[in-house]
């Protein structure tokens, strides 16, 4: 699940200059600049359409969101909670503007049509992949490696825009937490995170993740997390 986010993280580590902007704020002025994500051009001015970190790389100006609900994209791996069981699949809460649907046909193993709830019932937690985003919702599949119902452990929820920081450069941050707490961790790109280990490990991992969320813009974050995990073991 880390691949999609590494680019952002690497850039961040290289300290490309970013500044916090609010909607309607002029980020840069000049004929050469091109508006990227969440920006628009008005005359010579590139203007922000969203609260977030403005970044100018070359001629392109874009905003990296730091807040807001999860926006589903095809190929995202997410974790969700079953909200309802229908005659042909499951309605899943993955956060964000729409509920998503997992059709029975996207389940890799045989499930008796008359007893769909036997595989997953209301309140159960699944990791799944988004295979289609349409107007009004996202369709999920379990047909990929490592997907399916999650048993045991606990589910926590963070701001989805902090997920890249929790994962870290090539998974460095999440691996640090996994190793130090001996806890299995699956991070959904929607900000739902599944933790499974012993109770102390899970609690410590949860606290470490919350620390990253709170201090996501601080410098020396890795050192801070290392210190947190190293202390009072």
């Amino acid at each position: 699940m880390t691949t999609e986010n590494t680019e952002i993280i690497e850039e961040h580590e290289e300290k490309i200059e970013r500044k916090l902007v609010i909607p309607g704020e002029v980020i840069v002025t000049g004929d050469d600049y091109l508006p990227g994500d969440f920006t628009r051009k008005e005359g010579k001015e590139v203007v922000s359409n969203r609260f977030g970190l403005a970044e100018v790389s070359g001629r392109v100006v874009k905003i990296i969101p730091i807040s807001g609900v999860f926006e589903p994209r095809r190929g995202n791996t997410v974790i969700g909670r079953v909200e309802d069981v229908t005659f042909n699949g499951w309605l899943i809460d993955i956060g964000g503007p729409y509920s998503s649907f997992l059709p029975l046909a996207e389940c890799p193993r045989f499930i008796n049509r008359n007893d769909i709830g036997e595989f997953a019932t209301i309140g159960d937690v699944l990791s799944a992949k988004i295979w289609n985003v349409k107007k009004g919702g996202a369709d999920l599949t379990l047909k990929s490696r490592g997907l399916g119902k999650l048993e045991g452990g606990r589910l926590i929820r963070i701001n989805p825009h902090k997920v890249p920081r929790v994962i870290g450069k090539e998974g460095s941050m999440i691996n640090l937490i996994k190793d130090a707490t001996k806890t299995e961790i699956t991070v959904g790109q929607n900000g739902y995170i599944w933790l499974k280990g012993d109770s102390e490990g899970e609690e410590k991992a949860e606290n470490a993740i919350n620390l990253i969320v709170e201090e996501s813009t601080a410098s020396g974050l890795t050192e801070k997390v290392e210190k947190f995990l190293g202390g009072n073991k």
Binding site: R81, D93, G123, V125, G152, R154, L155, S199
Partner: protein, 275 residues
Amino acid sequence: MNLPNINKKRIISLLKDGKRLDGRKPFEYRDIEIETGISINAEGTSRVRIGKTEVIVGVKMSTQEPYTDHEDEGTMVTSMEFSQVAGERYESGPPQMDSIEIARVVDRGIRESRFIDWKKLCIKAGEKVWSIMIDIYCINDDGDVMDASAIGAVVALRLARFPKYDKENEAVLYGEFTDDPLPLTDHVPFTMTFHKIGESLLADPNRDEEDAADSRITLSVSSGKKEKMINAMQKGGIIGITIQEMEEIITQAEKVYDKVFEEVEKKTKNLIKSK
């Protein structure tokens, strides 16, 4: 996010070992913060935070005709609302059963402890008495809003002062205040709620724990004299509480009262002093 089944299972299995998701012990409360200064237009206000749960409370006073069976006693009305600010699950509309219940339980704890000297709220027997209106709003719900509401109501009452009253015209001068505090006794009520989850009991649940709970017992305890007195109780939820569990709740309530009430009392007194 509604409660995931795995979290419920985890909560239950941890409690069997006397543990909780956030590392607290079963009857340990989160940090409690108490403030005031919400509205200068109120006779008294408070803000109470228990962990991330936050309630604000205001006390307003007016006058009314007394009830015929209590001609020389003041009156009190307690209301509670989960503002839609408090969380995704709250939709607009009239107060729901959960908020009505909280208001009723908080009201009974204050009333039955004899915390308020009702006779001193009489202006003219049979004609005019003071009326106290307590409004409780939850603005962030992370569980145990019941206990936060009760603490907030008591603090707001203790910080309240009478508005000015025009005796000649028999009218309250709204917006003008005296320095006179409300006629309160030292029977300060303190409310604690114990939740039953599976076979275990806990106090001060966070949102997940409260959602996982099968039933609960709320107790309002005061200790004007030497003994601790129970003034109000409420059982919530469908699942029954065994006699052994009830005994455990009483034992734990005494301990929580000694520790948490003491702490709340210290903070409240500091607040009254700094006023």
